[in-house]
């Protein structure tokens, strides 16, 4: 599985939506399931999955999956 597919799957699992409905352009604005609480859970899940730690300031207002991927890349994670 590619790293790109993996991030989408993590997002889909946390939001409990089919992975097909999560693209790099999707975010809290396009997916009603992406609430602020789910956003937090996503952050915690990504930390567990990638072994990284975020400052919430970095990820608080990330608008899309693509932007999240960019933040992960700055942490040296596969993009």
């Amino acid at each position: 599985m590619s790293a790109s597919a993996q991030l989408n799957e993590l997002v889909a699992a946390v939001l409990a939506v089919p992975v097909t409905s999560v693209t790099d352009e999707d975010g809290p604005a396009t997916l009603p399931e992406w609430t602020s609480l789910r956003h937090l859970e996503l952050v915690v899940t990504l930390e567990e999955a990638y072994g990284v730690s975020f400052a919430f300031e970095e990820v608080r207002s990330v608008p899309t999956v693509g932007a999240l991927r960019a933040v992960l890349a700055t942490k040296g994670c596969a993009r």
Partner: protein, 621 residues
């Protein structure tokens, strides 16, 4: 790592096409995130879509009410409960609504009608946000008044709700502790905080339906932080996911106890399980037990088993060994902590263990779902898992120092409170075995019953019998006229209410006392209604239920009542109870059960082989 988790994928697929293997696959969930996701997917999914045909899950309504946000508790709990044979309906109320949910008679919580209410407490429940840990004067009073308010709310809720209410002790976050720089003052803060937790724990004594989980103690074995400051500051999440998991494991164990799903029998292997080494190869003097490592590890396992036995769990040996040698070692080895009389039965032979377990369970009149099997062998464990999926299998592998803890897994044997009958249970079952030998020596069943010298005493519940009657109501599956008719709190209400009657039945015979083995819930009035009767399977086939009925008829007649009603709700396991209703006529459907009626004058007297006794009711001080 892969996120294409096979278990969550199967649950998702089961929404479309039923998949009876999913239930067993839930055991493969390991990580926090995948377990939480699985729990979310299980919400609203009928268990029949993921469980094998014939799976009997016990419905349970659980409410999660917190003083902080604990989003993951409900999904994690759902997974644990489904795995434990429970079909949960979970309500999560909004953030920080604990007091209003408890005290408002029309709150979401009150309308939900929970069997179990989990009140999640964090430090904010005891202290205001602005408290100063360096200024201890007055803090005890402040926290004390908050605790009193909480206790009052819990009591008020308890007066309206029948369910169990579960509180927890609270750990002091390190941020508060570190604000105090003096070691002397830090010790005082620690003492004050512990005192608050002691008072919280004391609330468990205020009512049998209030329980307090000692979360602070649980966390001493937990390797992650209490709090993720980011989650707390940003979203009022006071517990890290790891703490939520610890809490859920303990809460799920309590839910199992409420649902009567606790295990009742440990079937334990001998070689490399109860002791180190192989008896047949190493000889009685070569096995490892007692003394230094590793023998002391096996002693520790034995201490765990004896502790379980003292609290009502039955122990049985199932070993591939020479029976004479086993008997000799159990009776004479000086280092053994377990004694032969700790075991309700000792099976040493060369047969298949699944068959042996079936026979042990049948001889004790228990269900396979009440068994825990403990063995070191991968082969035996796999065989039992495969052949007897209802049995909980604990494979003791690896370093023997971990074996005792593996057997003491919190979910397996949890019970709400133990009773005098629990402490004597092994002896009771052993007496039963002697009774059966005696029966075999008699020429006919009638001779046998006549020679038993049965004495049956029916009496109103008192403070001594009440805990046992509550327990009988919760854990009796077979002779149970109206399963799940009464929760613990209902039973307590029957004992207290002048218009209702709670009766306990004691049985004694030439082999000794069986103790309180049956309970009757009765609504009195112009015509009396037995809303439930339960009887332990230990005293089946002796006519005890007919003696109880005769006693009820006597009591009714003495009160000028001419008819008895009984509610019967047939289920999958309680057919044994229908025998009581011989001579009754069905009348109508009533409160989800069928109502039967018999004229008091038509109730036959107690069987000739039973002496019906009356106990003087004494007021206990």
């Amino acid at each position: 790592m892969s996120k294409d988790n096979p278990v969550t994928a199967r649950i998702r697929a089961a929404r479309e096409n039923a998949d009876p293997g999913v239930l067993a696959a839930l055991d493969d969930l390991v990580g926090f995130a995948e377990t939480r996701d699985a729990g979310r997917l299980l919400d609203g999914l009928a268990l029949s879509r993921i469980a094998p045909p014939g799976h009997r899950a016990r419905p349970l309504r659980v409410a999660v009410v917190g003083t902080f946000t604990a989003e993951n508790v409900a999904p994690l709990l759902r997974v644990e409960l489904v795995r434990a044979g429970i079909d949960p309906t979970v309500l999560v109320t909004g953030f920080d609504q604990l007091m209003t949910q408890l005290t408002d008679p029309d709150s979401e919580l009150a309308r939900f009608g929970p069997d179990v209410t989990l009140c999640l407490l964090h430090d904010g429940a005891l202290m205001p946000m602005t408290w100063d840990p360096t200024e201890l004067a007055g803090l005890a009073d402040l926290a004390g008044s908050r605790l009193s308010a909480l206790a009052g709310a819990v009591a008020e809720f308890g007066s309206r709700s029948a369910g169990a209410v579960v509180l927890n002790t609270v750990a002091l976050p390190r941020g508060e502790r570190r604000k105090v720089v003096g070691f002397a003052e830090r010790a005082r803060l620690g003492a004050l905080w512990r005192d608050l937790n002691v008072r919280l724990l004391g609330l468990a004594d205020t009512s049998p339906s209030v329980h307090v989980l000692d979360l602070e103690a649980l966390l001493t074995d937990h390797d992650a932080a209490l709090r993720d400051e980011r989650l707390y500051r940003f979203a009022s999440m006071a517990w890290t996911p790891g703490v939520e998991r610890e809490y859920v494991r303990e809460a799920a164990a309590l839910c199992r106890a409420v649902a009567g799903r606790a295990r009742k029998l440990v079937v334990v292997d001998l070689d490399n399980t109860l002791w180190g080494g192989v008896l047949g190869d190493d000889g009685p003097h070569g096995i490892e037990v007692g003394g230094r490592y590793p023998g002391n590890c096996f002693t520790e396992l034995q201490r765990a088993l004896v502790a379980l036995r003292r609290q009502g769990v039955l122990l049985a040996v199932c070993s591939k060994n020479e029976p004479a040698l086993v008997e000799q070692v159990l009776a004479t080895h000086p280092e053994l902590t377990v004694q032969p009389e700790d075991f309700v039965t000792t099976v040493a032979n060369w047969g298949r263990k699944d068959e042996n377990i079936r026979q042990i369970v049948a001889s004790l009149n228990l269900g396979l779902d009440s068994v825990v099997f403990v063995d070191d062998s991968s082969f035996e464990c796999a065989l039992v898992r495969e052949q007897l999926p209802e049995v909980a299998v604990v494979q003791v592998a690896g370093d023997p120092s971990g074996h005792a803890l593996a057997v003491l897994e919190p979910g397996l044997f949890a019970t709400l409170a133990t009773t005098a009958t629990d402490r004597d249970r092994t002896a009771l079952y052993q007496a039963r075995a002697r009774r059966e030998e005696f029966a075999a020596s008699m020429s006919s069943p009638a001779d046998y019953l006549a020679s038993l010298g049965l004495r049956v005493t029916v009496s109103e519940a008192d403070e001594y019998s009440l805990p046992r009657l509550v327990q009988l109501g919760l854990r009796t599956n077979q002779f149970n006229l109206n399963p799940r008719a009464h929760t613990e709190a209902d039973t307590l209400a029957y004992a207290a209410d002048p218009d209702r009657l709670l009766l306990g039945v004691e049985v004694e015979d030439r082999f000794g006392r069986e103790g309180v083995v049956s309970a009757v819930w009765l609504r009195t009035g112009a015509e009396w209604t037995v809303t439930n009767m339960v009887m332990s399977c230990r005293v089946f086939s002796r006519g005890v239920e007919h003696a109880v009925l005769a006693d009820l008829a006597e009591r009714a007649a003495a009160s000028g009542v001419s008819a008895l009603h009984a509610l019967y709700r047939p289920g999958e396991r309680n057919r044994a109870a229908s025998g009581l209703l011989t001579g009754f006529q069905p009348v109508d459907e009533h409160e989800g059960a069928t109502r039967y009626r018999v004229a008091v004058a038509d109730v036959p007297p107690a069987p000739a082989w039973i002496e019906l006794c009356r106990k003087e009711q004494t007021a206990h001080v």
